[in-house]
Assembly symmetry: C2
């Protein structure tokens, strides 16, 4: 699966994959870099980032996009879900109710105390669909 993309299995790529597979800690790039450095002391953080991206594209690992520092603001204080257009980055309210049962179902199966949840849909907005159709 490396060949069709002209990719090479470097020692760095190998160790990054091994170390990630060896833990269930869902490390950040930085935390993984610290682990990998124990075996390859000279590896750089940039190399870790580059390989994590490639390994994700290959389907070998998953990148979890956490709800994080990037923010948008909403004049409506009630909780509701959103849809984001992956092409133009527009953010729109999702026309559906908040599903409280998601938290209840999970709470029955975990010691974690669940307090809230964040649900974001990704897709293509109508405007961008039209644009894409034009180009076809």
């Amino acid at each position: 699966m490396l060949k069709e993309r002209n990719l090479r299995m470097t020692r760095q790529r190998q160790v990054i994959l091994e170390e990630l597979r060896a833990t269930d800690q869902h490390p950040s790039a930085d935390a993984l870099h610290e682990r990998v450095k124990k075996k390859l002391p000279r590896i750089s953080l940039g190399t870790v980032y580059r390989n994590l991206e490639i390994l994700t594209e290959l389907g070998e690992i998953r990148t979890i996009a956490l709800a994080g520092s990037l923010k948008r603001f909403d004049g409506i204080p009630q909780n509701h879900y959103h849809m984001r257009c992956m092409r133009c980055d527009r953010l729109v309210d999702a026309p559906m109710d908040v599903v409280d049962s998601l938290e209840r179902v999970l709470q029955e199966k975990t010691e974690f105390r669940i307090l809230s949840h964040q649900l974001e849909f990704t897709g293509i907005c109508p405007d961008c669909q039209a644009l894409l159709d034009d180009n076809a």
Copy 2:
């Protein structure tokens, strides 16, 4: 509601709230800053950030933390949900199945083409619960 926290209703705070309430565009802090500058040309981006934080704490508006900027990595390539501890930031697999019907339910009600969804639970992990109990 301003009084109990010794907060003042400044012109800046007022206009930021008005402008955010006047749109359904879910602007970024920067985009909102551009709008507000038309009424208060000298207002700084830092002031916009500070007020958005306070208005969120007061429950007047909502801050939407977008999925994307912050990343974690997972050696298991199958899709699944996660729980994040709001105290220690630990990330753990959620013991529940992916709910495909969420996308179907929403797709029936929108022109948006839904392609995927991101669900993240927030709460307190068992270790941090124990710590909090000790301090009580």
